[in-house]
């Protein structure tokens, strides 16, 4: 009889199990008419403004310290696309799930994660949200339904369908958001995933962030059809375009998509038109596009645009916005400080988090394998840090 380790919880703490009920019937009724998002009030508008700015400043700083050699590997910046993550996350429920690709800082910040463990992750410290083992491409915050960053283009799209399948099995009204790029849309995984999501009525909202380029390849050079959302028709899926530079428009379109997922259990395919201001990654000089093109898009800057909205509505005065900016910059300073003061991961981290320790393994066989020996009986919730206290009155 093999030596048994301490029995494991059979369920992840971070993902509470729900009783299985027969999945609710899907309304075969007429397509729901657009309701849009609830109007954006002052507090929420200010929160979103601050959040978009946080992403912007966080990444500008990351770019800076990358150049100083404090961050390694790939660094893909979301700058210019902030309205998408912030608009979508502002509508998500706490128990919803989302998953995306390697350009993932914005999603995690928009979902409300403490930015300090994120900066620590970029710097490969033990306090990083992935314990320094994931880096820029691999931010995850599972307690908040964040299944984060995939480095394999298109690799996560079928996985999003699986989360939607689990929701249908449980009969809950959660939904799933799956973010991917205009380049990913040509991978076979996109096709397989959208077909089953529509065939089985899965509550998944597929979001292609069309930022015009997959690395150095423009949409025209990669996709036989450039109006990407039209590919949804090949799966009988509701599909539509969305201006990704205006957070208000993003909220309106996605509010409908989430209602379609929660109530009708129907997937939606949204093409969000946007632009990445920076190169694909730090190593990309972006020679494939003109300065003018970049400037043209920067005139539509989503943060500036929400700023104008705040001023128009008298939700804020110019100096309030400046105060938010300096407050955010302060917080980013704190992130770098936190990261730099954090310890490097000790050698044993290398062997942890590979296997789950369960009573079903013959322990004798693996006792000399450090990966098994250091495996833990159940999932670890990442360390929670004291919340940053804003100096701005929302």
């Amino acid at each position: 009889m093999p030596k048994k380790p301490t029995p494991a919880k059979t369920r992840s703490r971070s993902v509470p199990a729900r009783p299985i009920s027969a999945p609710p019937k899907t309304s075969a009724g007429p397509a729901r008419k657009s309701q849009g998002a609830p109007p954006l009030g002052r507090a929420e508008a200010l929160r979103l403004y601050r959040q978009m700015l946080m992403i912007r400043r966080f990444e500008e700083r990351a770019q800076q310290i990358y150049v100083e050699g404090k961050i390694g590997g790939f660094l893909h910046l979301y700058i210019g696309q902030e309205a998408i993550a912030c608009g979508i996350m502002s509508l998500l429920r706490g128990d919803d799930y989302f998953i995306g690709a390697y350009r993932d800082h914005g999603y995690t910040l928009a979902r409300g994660a403490d930015p300090r463990p994120l900066m620590a992750e970029l710097m490969g410290r033990s306090t990083g949200i992935s314990r320094g083992k994931g880096g820029s491409m691999h931010f995850y915050d599972v307690p908040n339904g964040n299944f984060g960053g995939d480095g394999i283009v298109g690799g996560h799209i079928t996985i999003a369908a699986g989360m939607g399948y689990a929701i249908r099995l449980r009969g809950s009204d959660q939904c799933v958001v799956c973010f991917f790029g205009d380049g990913a849309i040509n991978e076979g995984a996109f096709h397989e995933a959208l077909n089953v999501a529509s065939l089985w009525d899965l509550p998944v909202v597929f979001v292609v962030e069309n930022n015009m380029y997959g690395m150095g390849t423009s949409v025209e050079r990669a996709s036989a059809v450039t109006s990407l959302h039209e590919r949804g028709a090949a799966y009988g899926m509701t599909h539509l375009p969305c201006d990704g530079m205006d957070i208000l428009k993003v909220r309106d379109i996605f509010a409908d998509a989430f209602a379609r997922a929660r109530k009708d259990k129907k997937p939606t395919f949204v093409e969000v038109i946007t632009y990445r201001y920076r190169g694909h990654s730090m190593s990309d000089p972006a020679k494939y596009r003109s300065k003018e093109e970049v400037e043209k898009w920067q005139e539509k800057d989503p943060i500036a645009r929400l700023g104008v909205f705040l001023l128009d509505r008298k939700f804020a005065r110019p100096k309030d916005l400046e105060a938010i900016d300096s407050d955010v910059s302060l917080e980013v300073d704190g992130c770098v400080k936190f990261a730099e003061e954090s310890a490097w991961p000790p050698p044993e981290y290398m062997y942890e988090d590979i296997y789950v320790k369960t009573p079903h393994i013959n322990w004798r066989a693996v006792e000399n394998d450090p990966a098994w020996e250091r495996s833990l009986p159940d999932d670890r919730i990442p360390v929670v840090y004291p919340p940053h206290v804003s100096t701005v009155k929302g």
Binding site: S130, Y140, T158, N195, A365
Partner: protein, 324 residues
């Protein structure tokens, strides 16, 4: 103890675990209304319905991806590959997602899924449908790889695999589906990573799993008539490998033959050989020998197929060689 086929044993294991845990569900091509391409899932859709026994389009990447995504949010999917030859199309999903997200997330994610289906040569289904690709999975940290040889092992190990919280690749052998064996009536599991001595002997140690374990036992019978006693060790789980019983046996017999249905290069058998020569160096009276499929694709013609699959005669020959 009932005498049942491996097909029935696998079917029972899934039915029992689906009854036991509402989070367990099955997904794959023809697993439902067709009752399974090889009838392993017979009757399950009638009992558990279309959502817990999900027929899919022919889309292996989607099958694997749906299983992974569901597992990450707390379900316990069983993804059937109609045959493991087609799992190549899902290999990225398994290797870069199922096996790695726990690590890349610093322990936030777990992937309690089973991918199962037939592997290895069937009867004259030719080069694309007769492959033993277990080495591709055994190579990967984060996975558990099971290859049972008997109905009892199949049932006990599949139940453990379904209950386990790690991603398990469960590779069956089509030719063994009709093989009968005794299976306990009560609920039982067999620990993952536990090898079993299927026959004791003192002249030579034969390490073999799945279908090759049967061929090795047949070879052992033939050799016994000539007074050569083989000890046949069946790892049952090829990752993690339960090495101690293999080493103990070799230290006793001083001779080792590894029998594998797969191609010889960069394979599981090569790794076991490497481990044995190191851990039993001072005990070996002869080099570790191996029996494999020839290093070529599988031919269709039955006369060639018979020469291809390692037969008991070939094992007998090799054992005599290692003892010579």
């Amino acid at each position: 103890m009932a005498m049942i086929t491996m097909r029935e044993a696998l079917n029972q294991a899934m039915r029992e675990e689906m009854k036991r845990d509402p989070n367990v569900f099955l997904i794959g091509e023809e697993v439902g209304h067709y009752q399974g391409a090889y009838k392993i899932t017979q009757g399950l859709v009638q009992e558990f319905g279309d959502w817990r026994v999900r027929d899919t389009p022919i889309a292996e990447e989607a099958i694997a991806g749906v299983a992974v995504g569901a597992a990450w949010v707390g379900m316990r999917p069983i993804a059937e590959m109609m045959t493991f030859n087609f799992a190549l199309l899902a290999l990225d999903t398994v290797l870069n997602h199922a096996a790695k997200y726990r690590y890349m997330s610093g322990g936030q994610i777990r992937c309690p899924m089973v991918m199962r289906g037939p592997s290895g040569a069937a009867a004259q289904v030719a080069a694309q449908h007769s492959q033993s690709l277990e080495s591709y999975f055994a190579h990967v940290p984060g996975l558990i790889v099971v290859m049972p040889s008997t109905p009892k092992d199949a049932k006990g190990l599949l139940k453990a695999a379904i209950r386990d919280d790690n991603p398990v690749i469960f590779m069956e052998n089509e030719v063994l589906y009709n093989v009968k064996g005794e299976v306990p009536d009560e609920d039982f599991t067999i620990p993952l990573g536990l090898s079993e001595v299927k026959r004791t002997g003192h002249h030579v140690t034969i390490v073999a799993w799945s279908r090759m374990c049967h061929h090795s036992l047949l070879a052992a019978d033939i050799l016994a008539k000539e007074g050569i006693e083989c000890e046949v060790v069946d790892p049952r789980t090829i990752r993690p490998l339960d090495e101690a019983p293999i080493f103990d046996s070799v230290r006793k017999t001083n001779h080792c033959v590894i029998v594998e249905e797969a191609w010889p290069q960069a394979s599981v058998g090569a790794y076991i050989s490497d481990r044995v020569q190191r851990e039993c160096f001072d005990y070996l009276d002869a080099p570790v020998m191996r029996v494999n499929a020839p290093d070529v694709p599988m031919p269709y013609s039955k006369v060639l197929e018979k020469l291809y699959v390692p037969q008991p005669e070939k094992i007998v020959e090799t054992v005599k060689q290692v003892l010579a």
